[in-house]
Symmetry: C2
């Protein structure tokens, strides 16, 4: 769907999508204590293992995950799943530009936290985008996990 190449809907990077899916997997499959390893997660979710490893590292550094090395090691959630929002993960991995940046990239919209003097489209769209941001902030991993019925639902397109 991209004139000069591939590109699919790119609102959230693959890196970030993988991170979210992995965290959901842990929330569903661990009681909060049990550690789950990258090998198992990447096999079950069909994600590139070594790459997922990097993502998990950054989530661990950012206090979303706990990690333990060695036999029986792996990752577990560092907080209650109800305390982790999708926004938290997006913020860490992609940043929050996607919710704030001018959609057509014009100068006057930037560095404008008060939303004054916006381009005409930013004027019309910034409220919808704030709603989108709110949707990410209100969606917790805990609630999401409850709504998942089967492993199949995690799988990549």
């Amino acid at each position: 769907m991209y004139i000069f190449g591939v590109l699919n809907g790119n609102m959230i990077s693959n890196t970030c999508k993988y991170g979210i899916r992995a965290i959901l997997y842990i929330a569903v499959n661990s009681d909060g204590e049990k550690k789950i390893g990258i090998k198992k997660i990447s096999e079950d979710l069909n994600l590139p293992g070594p790459f997922l490893g990097k993502i998990m590292q950054t989530l661990a550094k950012n206090k979303i995950l706990n990690s333990v090395k060695g036999p029986h090691g792996g990752f577990s959630l560092a907080k209650a799943p109800e305390k982790i929002s999708l926004y938290d993960i997006v913020k860490i991995i992609d940043g929050d530009d996607v919710f704030h940046e001018c959609l057509i990239g014009v100068k006057i919209c930037e560095n404008n936290p008060e939303y004054t003097n916006l381009c005409p489209f930013m004027e019309k769209s910034h409220k919808v985008r704030e709603m989108l941001e709110k949707t990410f902030k209100e969606q917790t991993i805990g609630e999401f996990a409850k709504g998942i019925n089967s492993l199949d639902e995690f799988l990549q397109i």
Copy 2:
């Protein structure tokens, strides 16, 4: 704002942003008949000329622009600016996945035009995303152009 590299808000590709800005530039600076060349547009908007050329080609192929070769040639809008929406341009250049694709990339949400059996987050977010799509559809180039006060407002971040 990206863990492993750069990445800014990537909802709309740069290619598409350049296309939108160039069309706006034409809408503001041409009466509808006058042709404007890539050289002038790219210099004034501070965009890479040859790359913008490619983008203009695809917009011309898709009946958004008229192009005329040779001296006094250049590009003009192929329709009334009120008949061109931002959505039209996004659809041509990036595709519309950005409005429909599952935000965390899970399988069950795909090929689901009726929006049945969605993942819990898609369930909660698809209405906001439809609003976003509507915002793009309702924003015409004509109306946008009226709201622009100076060339400066076009310029890239």
